[in-house]
């Protein structure tokens, strides 16, 4: 037993030496997170910034110009007055504007009659996201204007009802605040899966595995010596990420550090397990890294809900996300950062992560051989 502990510690120390002396692992564990956090924090912004649209007013009456003014003064839309639909069409084709709104000549007349579609909205369908945003914004402007009109005339049957939107947990609805916790998940995946996918394969490729297998080292000791150093590296990296996000990036953190440490440990267990399993099975650094990229990194970015909303994915893809450890970690991280220690969410996520972590490590142990064939 004491021999086993000593061997494990000796191998872990060796692994730490290798980590410290290999500039690429330091780069991946500490520099890459900073770069990723800043990219997610500043470079990738899901809030739409000011979009230019054209505004063609063919009805010059008061009603029409009051409606037109509903487009002015918005922080998201910059409405450029245009003379005709033809000119606006040209500007759209040239890419100068992302859509245009035409207030037709019979706007006031049709409004009086209670007719439909007095306003035409044309958007640039080549960028559907922006197109639907412009359409929604125009609709919103219409609704707001209607409301104002009703309030003024005081003839509205809906009386004092007003819709007021408020975002909870992320009051300013700054996408950075939920992207940062997500980006930490991506970083933990890189460290956990990508970095460890290299380590066992490296021992095989360099021939050091053969020498190790001829010593009294047991499989459990060997795997522990791979898990422990990279676990510590992952936790250190998490500390850096957390520090940077709450200080430099101004993300709120409403949970407890204890919960963060606990759930990170659980996620690292599955990520490290994935990496080690691939490394053990493939015995080749290049293949293992490719496999880890596809099995852990890409799903963590695409399918975990970091960037793309899981609820808007097609059902089969959504089904796949349920077996991704990253999904549960993303949800936990967003909860910890934006909401706090919510036991209902965190306990369920932890349980799942515990299961996947144990499963991957058990599989790795099974796949590790005491001999070469």
């Amino acid at each position: 037993m004491r021999d086993g502990v000593r061997r494990t510690l000796a191998l872990s120390r060796k692994e730490l030496f290798q980590i410290v002396r290999d500039p690429s692992s330091i780069l991946i564990a500490f520099v890459l997170p900073l770069i990723l956090m800043f990219i997610f924090g500043y470079g990738l912004n899901l809030d739409t910034s000011r979009i230019r649209i054209g505004l063609v007013t063919e009805d010059h009456g008061t009603e029409a110009s009051r409606f037109a003014s509903a487009f002015a003064g918005s922080p998201m839309i910059e409405a450029l007055p245009m003379d005709s639909a033809v000119q606006a069409g040209r500007a759209l084709t040239a890419g100068a504007i992302r859509g245009f709104v035409v207030i037709q000549p019979d706007f006031a007349a049709r409004l009086k009659r209670g007719d439909t579609a007095p306003v035409q909205v044309i958007t640039d369908g080549s960028d559907p996201n922006t197109a639907s945003f412009v359409a929604a914004y125009a609709q919103g402007a219409w609704a707001r204007w209607q409301e104002v009109r009703r309030a003024e005339s005081a003839a509205s049957p809906a009386g004092g009802i007003r819709i007021e939107e408020r975002y909870w947990f992320n009051e300013a609805a700054i996408s950075r605040h939920f992207l940062i916790p997500g980006s930490i998940v991506v970083i933990m995946t890189v460290i956990g899966a990508l970095l460890t996918s290299l380590v066992v394969a490296r021992e095989w490729e360099r021939g050091t595995m053969e020498a190790l297998l001829a010593t009294p080292v047991t499989l459990v000791e060997f795997l522990l010596s791979k898990l422990l150093p990279y676990y510590l590296l992952g936790m250190a990296s998490m500390l850096v990420c957390w520090g940077v996000s709450v200080t430099l990036l101004g993300t709120p953190f409403r949970g407890s550090l204890l919960a963060l440490a606990g759930i990170t440990s659980l996620y690292l267990a599955s990520a490290l397990g994935t990496g080690l399993l691939l490394s053990t099975l493939l015995r080749n650094q290049f293949n293992a890294a490719q496999a880890a990229l596809n099995a852990a990194f890409l799903p963590a970015v695409m399918l975990s809900g970091v960037v793309y909303e899981i609820s808007s994915m097609p059902a089969p893809v959504r089904a796949v996300t349920y077996i991704l450890p990253a999904r549960y970690f993303v949800s936990s991280m967003q909860t910890l950062f934006l909401a706090g220690d919510v036991p209902g969410i965190l306990v369920a996520n932890s349980l799942f992560l515990l299961v996947t972590g144990c499963a991957f490590i058990a599989l790795t142990l099974r796949a590790t051989r005491r001999h070469l064939d």
């Binding site: 000593r6 360099r206 021939g207 297998l213 010593t215 009294p216």
Partner: protein
């Protein structure tokens, strides 16, 4: 404790359809160095891995130190030292850290550890380098560190898988001395090697070939079988390669090789001594009996080598002549620096038409750098390299058209078939149309490649792989052929066949330049340049180099003796300067 260090009976191991070990039975004694000798692919590593418990036998009985490696691995590993073929230590860890790691793994406690380290470091001469990363050690020092780590657990049996690969002759001798000392102290050592000359250093030998045990016993008993059957034809007038060719055609001659200016012949059992005049060796030629060596015995077991004739010399055209100037390859003050490091330092030599010139030197001495500059693969920092009078710096591609190149381990496309490889390489060298088809047909005929045309190059037997590589290199009729360690690790028959082809090419006036760290290969050369620490420390015929170091202590030095003496002399001069 039972008497045998290792014993096995009917030991089999297959990999898919390949039978790597075919029913081996032998006993390895305790307290001696036993050589596991054989060419690459003979099954040496497989046997070692079975003993180390890293592979399991397909069939048969195996006991190492009285234990079954497959079933009693844990107990065995505590009593076994194993040094794999690839450097098994961590290159990014220092010497000391590697030792510490292995001391922990082997359960050497704190107090005993320092004592044992001190002894190991003293024994290996690594004491000055404890803080150096293992990756920055020379080949010889790496192996010594590997040995030290394998010895830390004070094993009863030590398995060393090709410990002398990549080790210069001086370190190799030191390594041998160390291992002999260990065996004298009671350790059972198994040393595997593809260098047949090492067999004679062992107390006992297991000779493997293609998975079969060809001989087990003391090496001297094997070479004794050949007593009186090995002779040299000395003082040959004229072409010694022709003499060898004719001698090999004699019915009584089993095997023959060139040794400097002489031709060494192994005769069949009961065959009469050949008449030097009958093989055209000239009036001065005489026969001298020589001591048989292990390789002779191996050839005897294998039933003799191939003939000395090469069809190749008939199918290829005479190499072009460059006016009256006989110098084909020339290096003048050739220097190559990598940062502060001078890999090649003012190297000069000239090779004449139809000559075989060898660059001999330990790994890292600068011979590969020199070689690459001569093929136009690397630009010299200073000096001039030319082939057929064409400067490699100014018109590398025109010069390269004159070159054939055969890289170490045959750089063929393994997943292309033989025919595809031939088409590809001939195309690369600018052959096309009817000429290409004709040349390929000639090569296929000369090298008997017809049955393998649709076989992937990777799955060819070693000998045919070598033929294909050579065919690809000579197809376009180059004036100069560059060979990079062409026969290291191959079995002696394949090596003889290869040199027969090379001799055939030389007959047509092709100039050969070869790098090697292999003393036997050096003997085939007309002249050798000895490269050491980036400098050419000696140039001459093999005999001249040997004579230059002959003295009262060693009246008849071998090529390796000459090498070591010249390198030591150069070190002394450097120390004085």
């Amino acid at each position: 404790m039972d008497a045998a260090a290792v014993e096995f009976a009917g030991l089999e191991r297959g990999f898919g359809p390949i039978r790597a070990l075919r029913g081996l039975t032998a006993t390895i004694r305790r307290g001696v160095v036993t050589g596991l000798v054989g060419p690459d692919g003979a099954g040496k590593t497989t046997l070692m891995r079975l003993m180390a418990g890293l592979l399991r036998p397909s069939a048969g009985h195996l006991r190492v130190d009285g234990l079954d490696p497959a079933a009693e691995g844990d107990a065995l590993r505590a009593r076994l030292g194993y040094m794999p073929q690839k450097f098994g230590l961590y290159e990014d860890l220092t010497v000391r850290e590697n030792l510490d790691l292995y001391a922990d793994l082997r359960g050497v406690p704190g107090a005993a550890r320092e004592q044992r380290f001190a002894r190991m470091l003293d024994f290996t001469g690594l004491a000055r380098f404890t803080a150096r990363p293992a990756g920055k050690l020379s080949g010889g020092m790496k192996q010594k560190l590997g040995l030290a780590c394998a010895l830390l657990g004070e094993p009863a049996v030590l398995l060393l898988d090709e410990p002398s690969v990549g080790v210069d002759p001086i370190s190799r001798r030191e390594l041998w001395k160390m291992v002999k000392g260990l065996a004298a102290g009671g350790l059972s050592v198994l040393w595997s090697t593809s260098y047949l000359d090492e067999a004679e250093l062992c107390d006992e030998v297991l000779l493997l070939n293609e998975g079969e045990l060809k001989y087990a016993g003391p090496p001297a008993a094997l070479t004794a079988r050949l007593a009186g059957r090995v002779v040299q034809i000395r003082d040959i007038a004229g072409a010694r390669r022709k003499v060898l060719q004719r001698a090999l055609a004699l019915p009584g001659v089993l095997d023959g090789v060139i040794q400097g200016q002489a031709v060494r012949l192994v005769l069949k059992q009961g065959a009469p001594l050949p008449d030097p005049a009958a093989v055209g060796a000239g009036p001065q030629a005489r026969l001298a009996p020589v001591r048989p060596r292990f390789e002779d015995a191996f050839m005897d077991i294998l039933g003799g080598g191939p003939g000395g004739e090469s069809v190749l010399s008939r199918v290829i055209a005479d190499a072009p002549r460059q006016g009256n100037d006989q110098v084909v390859i020339e290096a003048r003050e050739l220097t190559r620096r990598f940062g502060d490091f001078v890999a090649t330092d003012r190297v000069s030599f000239a090779v004449r038409r139809g000559e075989i010139f060898g660059l001999l030197g330990p790994n890292g001495a600068g011979k590969s750098t020199t070689f690459r500059m001569m093929c136009g693969l690397l630009t010299p920092s200073a000096g001039r390299a030319s082939v057929m009078g064409i400067d490699l710096k100014s018109s590398a591609s025109r010069a390269r058209q004159q070159l054939g190149y055969m890289a170490q381990k045959f750089s063929l496309y393994g997943n292309l078939t033989v025919a595809q490889n031939l088409r590809f390489f001939s195309g690369v060298y600018g052959l096309s149309g009817a000429r290409q088809t004709a040349r390929i047909a000639e090569m296929v005929e000369a090298f008997d490649l017809a049955p393998f045309l649709d076989t992937a190059a990777d799955t060819l037997p070693l000998g045919f792989k070598q033929r294909l590589a050579l065919a690809c290199a000579v197809m376009h009729g180059p004036a100069v052929l560059f060979l990079d360690e062409p026969t290291s690790g191959v079995d002696p028959i394949t090596r003889r066949e290869f040199w027969a082809h090379i001799n055939g090419v030389v007959e047509r006036g092709v100039t050969i330049m070869v790098t090697t760290h292999f003393m036997d290969e050096a003997e085939y050369c007309d002249r050798i340049g000895l490269v050491y620490r980036g400098r050419m420390i000696a140039v001459g015929t093999p005999d001249e180099l040997k004579e230059s170091v002959a003295g009262p202590e060693s009246p008849d030095p071998s090529m390796e003796d000459a090498f070591i003496a010249l390198v030591t002399r150069s070190d002394l001069e450097a120390a004085h300067a």
